[in-house]
């Protein structure tokens, strides 16, 4: 009957709407992300220099990539940087969020203070950090003036330690945002459960460890993806703070890729490094995402 088919159509439409809503995002992603990745993979086998060109050279670009001492150094630096950065940011972010969630009167003031570093373009903030960390003019110098003459802090000038100064500046920049993510998560937790647990005599420590933090699991996933992505893409930070130096000691894959693709006119090598990077990220992310997104049965 007519009425029934109309109803049927309506339900069928309702069923299709979610997919239609999602469709543009998926289409755009397939073309502008995965299409471009394929294009880059193709470029990595070509003799592209200043602009893409299409003469195939086989594995030559990869062969050259692994001859370059800066590349292995960049990968090594990324491992150190990413691990420290992700862990420290998460710990500080979660701690601040929990503390800020204790009915702090000044929350409205403190939140923007923690967040503001993200607002500043690092092109300039990098200069401020560079000065602070410079033993000749920054913290060390100031403390010497105040009488603490044995204080020594010159990491930024030392090849083996300069990467840690990049970690400090990076943590400064984004830990406030991680705090906001966790805070949003905390604010989404049902207080009734907490009250019930408190009645049962659970200590604060146990309350957080057993009940609250496990509920923040999705927030951890967000934080991890955001931080990992920022670690992989850290570019401004290094350029402004150390310029990759001393020497090439703080070169990261992002600075390496950019410099080979655009400054050194070796787009083929740049593309090869991008492919290796993406494969490395996939090797780490795919198992993690799989475990995280697996249907809880």
């Amino acid at each position: 009957m007519a009425r029934e088919t109309a109803l049927d159509l309506r339900t069928r439409l309702q069923e299709w709407i979610p997919k239609l809503v999602l469709a543009p995002s998926v289409a755009v992603m397939l073309v502008f992300v995965y299409g471009f990745i394929l294009f880059t993979a193709f470029l990595s086998f070509t003799d592209s220099k200043i602009l893409p060109s299409y003469g195939l050279v086989g594995w030559h670009n990869y062969w050259r990539l692994f001859q370059l001492p800066t590349w292995s150094l960049a990968i090594e630096n990324l491992a150190i940087f990413a691990a420290l950065y992700i862990v420290i940011c998460s710990v500080i972010g979660l701690t601040l969020a929990i503390l800020l969630d204790q009915k702090i009167r000044g929350e409205g003031m403190l939140r923007p203070i923690y967040l503001y570093p993200m607002a500043l373009s690092f092109i300039v903030t990098g200069t401020a950090w560079k000065w602070l960390l410079d033993p000749g003019i920054g913290i060390e110098h100031t403390l010497h003036l105040w009488g603490w003459t044995s204080f020594h802090f010159a990491w930024i000038k030392e090849s083996d330690f300069a990467i840690y100064t990049v970690v400090i500046a990076a943590v400064w920049q984004t830990s406030g945002f991680v705090m906001a993510m966790f805070l949003a998560g905390l604010r989404g937790i049902d207080n009734e459960i907490l009250k019930a647990a408190q009645m049962d005599g659970a200590s604060n420590w146990n309350l957080y460890r057993r009940i609250i933090i496990p509920q923040l699991r999705p927030a951890f996933l967000s934080a991890f993806v955001i931080l990992a992505h920022l670690a992989v893409k850290s570019y401004d930070l290094v350029v402004a703070l150390t310029g990759g130096g001393p020497g090439r000691a703080t070169e990261l894959p992002a600075t390496f890729m950019y410099s080979y693709t655009f400054t050194r006119n070796e787009m083929g090598v740049g593309a090869a490094s991008a492919v290796i990077m993406l494969m490395t990220i996939a090797a780490i992310m795919v198992p993690y995402l799989y475990a995280e997104l697996k249907e809880p049965k």
């Binding site: 200043i50 299409y54 410079d134 090849s159 703070l241 130096g245 400054t263």
Partner: protein, 417 residues
């Protein structure tokens, strides 16, 4: 998908598109990275010159990393089929872009105005591709300079060093007096700028040419190159411990304040001295890196002209002519600290350092010792230049000793070619 298009097809499509995009009549769009006070003001003179002829100026400034950012933007613009009219560019980049077949041909005005006679041959190597004019040079900077605080030197009884040994002795004397002998910024390009002068001082123009321009492995890894790296090690002994990462102008400020005695830097450093109200010859000294008198390692900013629609060609040609006019060349370079890119411009408006530089440029041009600067992309293409940077900075930061550095240099250059 783009990947399946042939190169010619792509370029043809780009050109078709660039012709199709409507622009206001008689205007030029200029992509450049001269954004700091003096430079930008100097360029404004060109804008006004063109306005007098009724030609509009669309400004497209993108600063950063000595033009690196602007070159990235240029790639996007050309790929999108919308290249600017003129683009500031350095050295081998010009030739690389010319190979893509996207540049205009300026032969007619070049012939009319006789550029072949007035532009130094070493510059023409970059302004021309395949025998055709594609770019107009704006200035000539040179890199083998030493800047010194005269009062400090006088107080220590140091005269202008003539030879390398003199120079080292002078540096030692400053060190003994408890001052910083050499003000230095530890960034790869600054170290490489110093290296330009050092290599030239070790082996002279012939060796420089063999090593950096011909990229002869025997020269790159030979005993003279080892000696050059040894001299870099020597210089390293005269910088303060906090040199790494320092901006070049903060290093210049150390000389201005009298904390440091010397700085080895290109002639843009002069602007800092002048701005601090110091007079050449009285408060500060400028001289060529000891052992390189009569030779000049240069870099030259040029405006490269891209292929544009027919309706824009008149404006483009007018801009090229305006850039090459002696009056603009003089007024621009007085401000910029560099020297004009044509040899027939009177030196009356220039200060003593500028006059000296102009005379030396002419002399070097006649002798054939006007050499492209490796550090600034005028001796070899970007890939090779940066490969050399890698080795120079590794040596200067103590990762390679002189022998190892020379070996690595051969390897790095071979890999980058």
């Amino acid at each position: 998908m783009r990947g399946y298009l042939g190169k010619t097809l792509t370029i043809a499509a780009m050109l078709a598109m660039s012709a199709g995009i409507a622009r206001a009549d008689g205007s030029v769009e200029v992509l450049h990275w001269w954004t700091s006070g003096g430079e930008a003001a100097a360029l404004n003179v060109l804008k006004q010159d063109l306005q007098k002829e009724g030609i509009g100026w669309k400004d497209m400034p993108v600063a950063g990393g000595g033009g690196e950012q602007a070159m990235t933007v240029l790639r996007a613009r050309v790929t999108a089929g919308d290249p600017p009219t003129a683009v500031q560019m350095l050295g081998y980049d010009i030739q690389d872009w010319a190979k893509q077949g996207v540049l205009a041909n300026l032969d007619d005005i070049a012939a009319k105005d006789g550029w072949d006679k007035v532009v130094p041959a070493a510059l023409q190597k970059f302004s021309k591709y395949d025998g055709h004019w594609i770019a107009v040079p704006v200035d000539v900077h040179s890199t083998n300079w030493v800047w010194a605080n005269k009062k400090l030197l006088d107080s220590l009884g140091i005269a202008q060093p003539k030879t390398w040994d003199d120079f080292v002795a002078a540096l030692q004397k400053v060190k003994d007096a408890g001052k910083i002998p050499l003000a230095m910024g530890g960034q790869p390009w600054q170290e490489a700028t110093m290296f330009d002068g050092v290599v030239l001082s070790v082996g002279g123009p012939d060796f420089y040419k063999k090593a950096f321009i011909d990229l002869d492995p025997a020269a790159l890894g030979g005993p003279q190159m080892v000696e050059a790296f040894k001299r870099m090690d020597q210089l390293k002994g005269f910088v303060d411990p906090n040199f790494s990462g320092r901006d070049w102008n903060l290093a210049t400020a150390m000389v201005i304040k009298g904390d440091a005695a010397f700085q080895m830097m290109g002639d843009w450093a002069k602007g800092e001295f002048l701005r601090a109200n110091m007079k050449p010859g009285v408060d500060f000294m400028c001289f060529r890196t000891p052992g390189t008198d009569g030779d000049v390692t240069f870099n030259s900013d040029q405006f490269v002209m891209f292929k544009v629609g027919k309706d824009q060609q008149a404006a483009q040609n007018a801009m090229a002519e305006a850039v090459m006019s002696p009056s603009f060349q003089s007024s621009f370079n007085v401000v910029k600290g560099s020297v004009p890119a044509r040899t027939d411009v009177p030196d009356t408006a220039f200060d003593d350092c500028g006059k000296m530089a102009m005379a030396q440029l002419k002399q070097a041009n006649d002798k054939g010792t006007l050499l492209g600067s490796m550090a600034h992309g005028h001796a070899n293409p970007a890939a090779v230049k940066n490969a050399i940077y890698d080795v120079v900075t590794a040596n200067f930061n103590g990762d390679y000793d002189a022998e190892r550095a020379a070996k690595e240099l051969v390897k790095a250059v071979a890999l980058a070619q």
